[in-house]
Assembly symmetry: C2
Homo-oligomer: 336 residues x 2
């Protein structure tokens, strides 16, 4: 642990050391365009900077330029699975490539308001998974945040809003099940409220697919991550007038619960009940039977988000139409 009041090395020190003016230091170190600095001077500045261990003050630069190179991404405190982990990595790297620094903040229940957070950071852009209220968005703008991107909303209400492919995910699940011959589907809905934003559009996708295939709408039941709860749901599905023969699970973990519940009831998957998940988590091929699931290509997803942000940072053309299919893939295993 460190704690000292050491004198800071400023750009003025570097200038003196190199025998040039502060402005020159700034130009050299920032590679400012349209300023042709002789190679000799450049070298001297670089040398002086390293010799002195000069580190520019981010605060000063931000104050002066009116914007930082930070991007703040709010993450709901949802149960973070490995899927979220890979999304986070990909997004981080994608912003790195553009010279922006992405940091994350989990928005907890008891946490402070969004506002206090971004005020403290003064980011160039803010990403959020849930809609930000217009007053807040206006406030951000006034405080210098140049771009606000909503990573998820059911419809893209404005530029900078991106529709996550959840509806398509649900659709793909249902279509696969229907193609496999099932005509009575169930939907295993998560029992965690924070997942609502993802679950709703996924279910909607399933419903759409059913409608399109002229199949009865899915019978929705909440399923907790608990074998007993899953067993109860399965029992209910199977004891209905026209029994459910296949279930779309909200995600692979819910599907795991379903598998555990089926085992409790001696219901054989997929013979008695087909199950399909979402995410293709590592454990998906470890279950008994291995899980058929929908995989999301987080790399493509991240790239798209970054594009949206860069576009509105540059303040030019609106976002292109998203090609959701590029980021989704059906992984067939033995649970269907």
């Amino acid at each position: 642990v460190a704690s000292s009041a050491q004198k800071r090395v400023t750009s003025l020190d570097v200038a003196r050391e190199a025998g040039v003016a502060r402005a020159t230091v700034s130009y050299v170190l920032n590679r400012t365009p349209h300023q042709s600095i002789p190679e000799g001077t450049r070298q001297r500045v670089f040398d002086a900077a390293t010799r002195l261990g000069y580190m520019p003050s981010a605060a000063a630069r931000t104050l002066r330029r009116g914007r930082s190179d930070l991007v703040l991404c709010f993450l709901p405190a949802w149960p973070i699975g490995s899927a979220a982990g890979s999304f986070v990595s990909e997004l981080t790297e994608a912003f790195d490539r553009r010279g922006l620094t992405l940091v994350f903040r989990t928005e907890g229940a008891r946490s402070r308001s969004l506002r206090e957070i971004w005020q403290e950071i003064s980011p160039a852009a803010v990403l959020s998974h849930r809609p930000i209220n217009p007053d807040d968005e206006e406030a951000m703008r006034a405080a210098g945040v140049q771009a606000v991107a909503i990573l998820f909303s059911e419809v893209a209400t404005s530029v900078g809003h991106m529709v996550r492919p959840d509806a398509l995910i649900g659709r793909m699940q249902a279509e696969h099940l229907i193609a496999a011959g099932h005509s009575r589907l169930g939907y295993a809905y998560p029992d965690v409220p924070s997942l609502e934003d993802f679950a709703k559009p996924r279910l909607a996708g399933v419903e759409d697919a059913c409608r399109d295939a002229a199949v009865a709408p899915p019978e929705v039941r909440p399923v907790a991550l608990d074998a007993g709860a899953a067993a109860a749901a399965i029992q209910a599905w199977r004891s209905s007038e026209t029994p459910i023969t296949a279930v779309c699970a909200y995600n692979d973990e819910t599907a795991q619960a379903l598998l555990a519940g089926a085992r409790l009831l001696d219901v054989v998957v997929p013979r008695d009940l087909a199950v399909i998940g979402v995410d293709d988590i590592p454990a998906a091929c470890l279950t008994n039977p291995p899980l058929t699931t929908i995989a999301v290509d987080h790399r493509v997803e991240a790239e798209r988000i970054v594009e949206i942000v860069m576009t509105s940072l540059r303040n030019d053309s609106p976002a292109q139409a998203p090609d959701e299919t590029a980021m989704l893939r059906l992984v067939e295993r033995e649970s269907v």
Copy 2:
């Protein structure tokens, strides 16, 4: 998306609006101690601030005070499980309670250097899971970072370093297995290099427990999250001279793989092979059989970390001796 060059409301505007001086505004808004401001003035300042929608500039404040109220936590790009999710939430809230704003940054392979990141943020404290090289730590100090806490290292080499309870986790696993009558243990080591920092001390804990109980050291095998790989490991363990009868898994997911591998080989858990995990992930009670595991209380863990940081920010007494046992708990299910 927003993008405008609106004039910023500064503290001077508020001062004018309230008919006072800038200093007064600062005093009132920051509740500066030892400055008795008349209630009337206070009210006028508050009113003016809200009326104008005043938002202090974090950059300016940071520049002036030389430090921000941000805490930057580097997270390895390890496979983030639900365990990490709850850790992150708890840590965020714990810092909130102390008036500090915690943000996370994943340190990816291709990402930029740590240095570029914290330079851009100028945090009051930096948390890291892996040792930071002394030069970097020195550089941070020079740049105004007041505290650097290493959340994990095998030994606490310095104040501000905290020993995560991984060794104790391994010890608890082994002790439980030994108490259940096993005398030949295996250790299922993760095959992901980024997990090394956690896996090494866990294994060391298992080895210590074996030594203390005068039992042979554990036979270590890497186990990927893949049923086939796990089956191969199990076969090897069981075909040794004195067969392994119980395995400590690096975590619950590795344990899941073991369960899947055992199933492939018709090895019955726990009759033929006992398995114990770590984390108590939601799926731990969904496996067949349900998983005995070690649960970590992330709330207690977070509180301890925050205490360490606050201590070194206040620059006073060194950290107290950690009580690791308070944050660990054995969860007995049917896999042992």
